[in-house]
Symmetry: C2
Subunit: 285 residues, 2 copies
């Protein structure tokens, strides 16, 4: 039986015990409602050298804006517990909101550069909430390594910057996006999509992979122009585009010209009331 830990101090004690036994601790932070993408992060933690893996399941209120879907965010702890156990995680850390936020937070961790573009423009408090809760999770789980998904590319970049700037003794592993067979990037929010919306949302991965193919094959050469082509494809499928951008994959700063060396295409788009994000790396053009 997988061990379920609810209290921060109990998790700290568990982690320190692991280390005293010479074991490397890996953390997989999630908001639950787990899918194959999350489960691949458990595998990545093992592959990265974690002897003991803790999956945190916590829908973090401080990263949702007042009009966002915190209350509606899907939750199914028994489902999550079963999947984590099957995949061989050692511990689920499932704190109550009232324990993680026993008093109103007045001390925040805030990244001020990478977090400002892309999703940060429409979700102004989101990455402050993410950086703060990940700091709390790091201080609770005391991991040697932590795994984040490339699906949330901006989040992964913010966390890497946080670890660099604040000297957390944590190695960050970014695991590749897991997609459905039809190409849609896995997301807990996919469950919101109707069948029709799901079909139209396939325009995201199709347009991203088409851009990659066009640029890498040399059929087209201008990465900036490619963002317009992607945007058009999304809009033709009925999507309401938040952004289509092409970035330096390391700095996450927008490319200022169209040359690829390499580049990351990043998309956020709504189909119906569901906001989806995706991204794809292009190696050369």
């Amino acid at each position: 039986m997988i061990r379920i830990i609810h209290s921060i101090s109990e998790l700290q004690k568990w982690s320190m015990d692991q280390k005293k036994q010479g074991k490397t601790v890996g953390l997989v932070p999630t908001m639950g409602f787990l899918h194959a993408g999350h489960l691949s992060l458990i595998d990545a933690a093992r592959a990265g050298g974690a002897d003991s893996v803790v999956v945190s399941v916590f829908v973090n209120p401080t990263q949702f804006g007042p009009t966002e879907d915190f209350d509606q965010y899907p939750r199914d702890f028994e489902h999550d517990r079963r999947l984590c156990e099957e995949r061989g995680a050692d511990v689920i850390f499932a704190p109550a909101v009232s324990d993680m936020y026993a008093a109103p937070v007045t001390c925040w961790v805030e990244e001020t550069e990478i977090s400002k573009g892309l999703c940060g423009r429409t979700r102004p408090i989101h990455f402050r909430g993410v950086a703060t809760v990940v700091t709390k999770l790091f201080n609770a789980a005391l991991p040697d390594l932590a795994v984040f998904g490339q699906k949330d590319a901006q989040q992964a970049a913010v966390i890497k910057r946080m670890v660099r700037d604040l000297n957390f003794p944590v190695r960050i592993i970014v695991a590749p996006i897991v997609r459905e067979e039809d190409g849609l990037a896995l997301s807990s929010r996919n469950k919101y999509l109707s069948k029709d919306e799901h079909d139209r949302a396939l325009s995201i991965s199709r347009s991203l992979f088409a851009a990659k193919k066009a640029l890498e094959s040399g059929i087209r050469k201008d990465a900036l122009a490619e963002t317009g082509i992607i945007r058009k494809a999304l809009e033709e499928a009925g999507g309401v585009v938040d952004y289509v951008e092409v970035l330096d994959p390391d700095s996450m700063m927008p490319l200022t010209d169209g040359s690829v060396r390499p580049a990351l295409f990043a998309v956020a788009v709504r189909f119906g009331s569901t906001r989806l994000i995706d991204n794809l790396r292009v190696e050369r053009a």
Copy 2:
């Protein structure tokens, strides 16, 4: 010979080794130019249960404003090394600025309530720099406990709030103010004072202790009125007052009436070009 460590990763390794040996690690963060106040923090770390004590000596640029005394701040590493060794510290952590800030910081730790009054009003980036560098020092030294001086009462309160909100597994000990025989609170900045300024600065501790005596003995009863009496004494001694306030010692929020239950009087005042702070707790009135 006391061990000198310059690199963050070496300190992390040292600390983890201590813990593997079952030893409790205590951190004493300082900006160097050590005096008896700092040395009392080493004693407090031992008394608090630290088997191994690391004193960090780092003049942190990010907590100084552009017009403040970062460049002029007194430094004397050989003096600090000798005092730490005599007092029985195990390690001095003395990183270079270029190692602590290898790249421009874009991720900050910021307390948004306690840090805004008192010194935060005239030093708007100070406590953001303090909280960020203490986070970095915690992540470098991985201490079980850390000791701060009551002299910097607002700093100690900000750090305690940071530890609470971000779940650092670090016990915070606040050690009492150490004073010269004449009452002046020890500070590395006291060396800036001329003999005359030093004499006039004695008005700080004299007026604070007079307020404490008047309130605790029942001669006077109104803590708010007492701040006016302190301010007058400082100005009569030629001080330029930044603030004289009376606060709830736990929340560090200003008292809204004059009753003491208990209360903390806090002062910041310039004599010549030297800004001094002091504070005193009054138990009852």
